[in-house]
């Protein structure tokens, strides 16, 4: 059977801004009114008749076996209707097919303080809360594993029975070209170890879920989730309930940032209780419980060995990362790959080796937070580049500019980069901040730092393997001129409802707020995989354009026949369908066109769908990193540092982001500034850290401060002035040329702060958060004539497996590993020996590829705030 031709995707990226009536124009977002009137219904705002409430009893032990659970007393407490335990839901689930390691309630072992063990369902939340201490649990404490290093040195007891071995969840080793050979030949080799502390999303809305049986017995679950489809799958599995009899409705999320992307135990618990009791069951987590849900930034230790030529051009990079994964898999395997996937898409790296290791520890599970897995190594890479610039005597902006990736090329690890606006981004922030005039020239205590980054516009592969679209949009048009757009995408504040409306409205020539938006409901809307990996604008947007183009064809055909002119002369704009040669006189209202089309074709409905292009990577692990295209960002941060106390102040940040095209400039700026804000928090104050009591006295390992008071999220008084530059160079892959904007601009902030601190006082803080106390410590070292640096001293020795060898494209590689015995195309080493390119041939091929790149014109917009 022959494979069908890849579908041609119409994106309208080449439209002139003047042609566009909706796209690119600042507008009130379609859900804006509801959000300012209090009408937006978040999950905990919902109430149903006969609704009851659930609370979850959680483990007070970081690691302990459950000997027995006695629920008798709790069941007799006033108002209590049901107590669930692990035995009631024995089927495990998890977001990734390779780590189905969670249970709604722990059946046998609890793996961190806060792991769910039992659920009490009562007439009121207060009654459920009061009965929780009556659930009698007999525990057998197990050894506490509190850090990644401890996990490496403590193979027993295993936190999970699966994984690579001991408490190592996953090891990865990939090599693209002979890195040691290149490092050996490099003029300089820079070796640096960094540590990126864990932190969490802290959405202001606490997770909440309401579950009920519909009148016909089906299960309905409303939840503050970013991924209703994945939740749907997990519910069907964990409850052993027919998937087609479940509907999941994602309520608008009061902030997500990745923290509501997993199917959660409380969601399954509420659903189970609703099925058992046949009553609506609500659960709303406390803030402390939200810290236990976590799935935030992994703490990552990393070592970079980077070779350069005399000018600081990278010749090869060898990256090792060690992740503290917490107690469960979550997205962890993907996170682990992401700690090495995107190093190659900003600067040319001819040869690249990447090895990563994720460990299990007795702490809340880590997962995807804004910039998923790429944030930590980006910090290391960009700080190391700053060190390289100083070492080779270059301005760090120039050092970057001289080795940017070229558009429309393959990287060493087979990522296809599309448009690259990074040069324009760097120019914008460098000019805006007078970086060339002020870097290294400000008085002691003041400094500037620069850093860049890149991010995905949607993951190239879904979470579970399938060949179906990643996003679908369905349109319904009727004789009232009403258009309803349906899509499974989830509004988490980022503005996806507005993107959907804008794309459809632009094509159909109506206003965005003319459209009824129905999103995030698995019963009524076509599937979209969810609001993660910055995928929604590109994928849903393209599906929306396809659906709208199909609807437009119906309207144009009917209108053309009615007006007696050829369809090619018909245009749609300003709620009219008209003859482009006589717009005023020959035409009809949008509503009349709908009537004509409905009369001609019957009920009007169209669909559109989108699946990303196939990646050229053919090696195992090559599925993480590919994206239809990548966004780019650059930032300059200015700091002031008190030379005695190390007190750090950030007065101003310049940020430029290559968004392809702004669909709604108001929202684009909001995403950029929000990313800067969150990045700044991670850079200078936020950390999800734990307190291990003295081991000889206690097993306890607790979240140090699961509260909004002590987990430091910057306030309005901590926000610097921000100058935002939106770089627009429409990308053929994006809807109307748009790329992502929700995550990328976060990435350069942390390294830019670190680099600015070095410029201000000459000390290196090679870990996050960059706090006054660390700066003060480094200042002391500086004053004593020691290495003025605070950061990890060494990278632990890890027993790496033999890596997959994938020759880069310019060394004759075809995207396959040459030494993967499991792969179909495997050939023994002696067979492939002669095919390896000589060093000279490789350099020639690289040079040819670099030469073939063309420059394209860019538009830069500056927005001052």
């Amino acid at each position: 059977m022959s494979k069908p031709e890849p579908k041609k995707v119409i994106t309208h990226h080449d439209k002139d801004p003047d042609e566009l009536r909706v796209i690119g124009r600042p507008r009130r977002r379609v859900d804006g009114r509801a959000k300012v009137t209090g009408q937006t219904v978040f999950a905990d705002d919902m109430k149903l008749p006969r609704m009851v409430h659930a609370k979850i009893v959680r483990s007070p032990h970081p690691h302990a076996a459950i000997r027995s659970i006695d629920v008798t007393a709790a069941l007799q407490a006033p108002g209590v209707l049901l107590v669930l335990t692990g035995a009631d839901m024995p089927i495990p689930y998890g977001i990734l097919p390779v780590s189905q390691d969670e249970h709604p309630l722990c059946p046998d072992v609890a793996r961190f303080v806060g792991d769910p063990v039992a659920a009490v369902i009562a007439e009121t939340e207060e009654a459920a809360d009061a009965a929780m201490p009556l659930v009698a649990i007999e525990w057998e404490p197990l050894t506490t594993v509190a850090s990644a290093e401890e996990a490496l040195s403590t193979p027993e007891p295993r936190i999970h029975e699966y994984g690579d071995d001991g408490n190592v969840h996953k090891r990865i080793a990939l090599q693209f070209g002979d890195v040691e050979e290149s490092l050996g030949k490099s003029v300089h080799v820079f070796e640096d170890v960094f540590f990126y502390e864990g932190n969490t999303h802290l959405p202001i809305e606490q997770h909440a879920t309401l579950a009920a049986r519909d009148g016909d017995g089906k299960l309905v679950v409303w939840s503050s989730t970013q991924t209703p489809h994945y939740l749907h799958r997990a519910l069907a599995k964990a409850l052993d309930f027919p998937a087609h009899q479940v509907r999941v409705i994602a309520t608008p999320n009061g902030g997500g940032f990745g923290g509501k992307s997993d199917p959660f135990n409380h969601e399954v618990v509420a659903a189970k209780a609703a099925l058992v009791l046949d009553r609506p069951v609500k659960i709303c987590l406390t803030r402390e419980e939200v810290f236990y849900c976590h799935r935030g930034r992994h703490p990552v230790k990393m070592r970079f060995r980077t070779g350069t030529d005399a000018d600081g051009n990278i010749t090869a990079m060898d990256l090792e990362t060690l992740l503290d994964g917490g107690a469960y898999g979550s997205y962890g395997v993907a996170s682990t790959f992401y700690t090495g996937a995107l190093q190659t898409v900003t600067y040319e790296i001819p040869r690249y080796r990447f090895r990563a290791c994720r460990t299990f520890t007795n702490k809340p599970p880590c997962g995807p937070k804004r910039g998923h897995g790429t944030v930590q190594p980006r910090f290391g890479q960009e700080v190391q580049l700053d060190k390289i610039a100083v070492a080779v005597g270059k301005n760090p902006a120039d050092l970057r500019l001289q080795q940017l990736c070229k558009p429309d090329t393959l990287t060493a690890n087979y990522l296809t980069v599309g448009t690259i606006g990074l040069r324009q981004c760097i120019d914008a922030v460098v000019d805006g901040s007078s970086f060339r005039d002020r870097w290294q020239k400000l008085p002691e205590g003041r400094g500037l730092g620069i850093a860049c980054s890149s991010y995905l516009c949607g993951a190239g592969l879904p979470i579970y393997w399938n060949a179906m679209p990643h996003s679908g949009v369905q349109l319904r048009l009727d004789r009232m001129g009403a258009v309803t757009a349906f899509c499974g995408a989830t509004e988490i504040g980022q503005g996806s409802d507005d993107v959907l409306a804008a794309c459809v409205a632009e094509v159909l020539g109506i206003a965005a707020d003319d459209i009824h938006i129905r999103t995030g409901a698995t019963d009524t809307t076509p599937i979209d995989l969810g609001s993660y990996s910055s995928r929604v604008t590109l994928m849903m947007g393209n599906a929306a354009i396809e659906a709208a183009e199909r609807a437009k064809t119906l309207l144009v055909g009917a209108a053309a026949r009615k007006l007696g002119i050829p369809p090619s002369r018909i245009a749609l704009a300003d709620r009219r369908v008209f003859d482009v040669e006589d717009p005023e006189k020959v035409g009809m209202s949008f509503r009349d066109a709908c009537c004509a089309a409905e009369a001609e074709h019957g009920t009007l409905g169209t669909v559109g769908s989108y699946a990303p292009p196939r990646s050229p990577a053919r090696f195992k692990g090559g599925g993480v990193g590919p994206s239809p295209t990548y966004s780019y960002s650059a930032a300059v941060v200015e700091v002031e540092v008190d030379p005695v106390t190390g007190w750090l102040h950030v007065p101003k940040i310049w940020i430029a982001h290559d968004v392809g095209r702004s669909l709604n400039p108001v929202l684009v700026r909001g995403q950029v500034e929000g990313s800067v804000y969150m990045g700044l928090g991670e850079a200078i104050m936020e950390e999800q850290v734990f307190r291990r009591l003295p081991a000889k006295m206690s097993n306890a390992a607790v979240h140090k401060f699961p509260s909004m008071l002590e987990y430091k999220s910057p306030t309005s008084l901590d926000m610097p002035e921000i100058v935002t530059y939106v770089i627009e160079d429409p990308d053929p892959k994006g809807p109307f040329g748009a790329k992502e904007v929700g995550q990328g601009p976060l990435l350069p902030i942390m390294p830019a702060v670190a680099n600015a601190v070095f410029d201000a006082v000459g000390v290196r803080i090679d870990e996050t958060p960059i706090t006054a106390e660390k700066i003060a410590r480094a200042l002391d070292l500086r004053d004593k004539g020691k290495d003025a640096r605070v950061g990890p001293k060494a990278f632990p020795s890890i027993d790496w497996p033999e890596g997959l060898e994938v020759p880069p494209p310019w060394e004759g590689g075809d995207g396959r590993a040459t030494n993967d015995p499991k792969a179909k195309h495997y050939r023994a080493p002696e067979e492939r020996g002669q095919e390896m390119m000589s060093d000279a041939a490789r350099q020639k091929a690289t040079a040819a590829q670099r030469a073939s790149q063309s420059k394209s014109g860019r538009v830069s917009k500056e927005v001052r705030s």
């Binding site: 804006g32 905990d44 202001i204 608008p252 803030r287 108001v666 804000y677 309005s716 008084l717």
Partner: protein
């Protein structure tokens, strides 16, 4: 006027019936003496517009106006509100018109996920009532008790400034905006 006097002391675990004055309306509400205004608004008065993010005074999401001044409804017992006029986000709409501050937040990106928005809107309303043309520092200070994780605050500041401009323009023409 009824100052909402409950029995003193209140009996343990028994509900009181009290009049509360919220958004210009008076409702008789039954609740327990240990319930906060937040719980009573959301769970007993069908006013879920007021949000909660911590219930411990650490985020500002539950801010409401009490006699025109922003306070945290999670920290104030409802039993102590009988003689007060409470305004929630639902009360900002007057005569079917959005408050200029609501218009500005909707138009200028002041609300992203919208969850901190109700608390910020009422707090900003109180600021403008007291100081019709605040500068950027005064706005940042007034909103320093309302955490927002989405916006980075700048579009919030601009929204308040826009509302102040609109307010100034309409009061120049003699209209009353609040």
């Amino acid at each position: 006027m009824n100052d909402g006097s409950p029995p003193d002391p209140t009996p343990l675990g028994r509900k009181l019936l009290m009049e509360l004055h919220v958004n210009g309306e008076t409702q008789e509400v039954a609740f327990l003496p240990h319930e906060t205004l937040l719980e009573v608004l959301r769970e007993r008065m069908d006013l879920p517009g007021t949000k909660h993010g911590c219930e411990l005074g650490e985020c500002g999401a539950c801010a409401v106006l009490v006699d025109g001044r922003p306070e945290l409804s999670c920290l104030r017992l409802a039993i102590e509100c009988g003689d007060a006029e409470v305004t929630t986000v639902e009360g900002l709409i007057r005569d079917g018109q959005l408050d200029p501050i609501q218009e500005a937040f909707a138009d200028l990106g002041g609300a992203q996920c919208g969850y901190c928005t109700p608390g910020i809107l009422v707090t900003a309303r109180a600021l403008l009532d007291e100081n019709p043309s605040p500068d950027r520092d005064e706005i940042a200070e007034a909103l320093s008790g309302n955490l927002c994780r989405c916006t980075g605050y700048l579009q919030i500041f601009e929204s308040v400034e826009e509302a102040a401009r609109v307010g100034a323009a309409s009061s120049a023409t003699g209209e009353v905006t609040s």
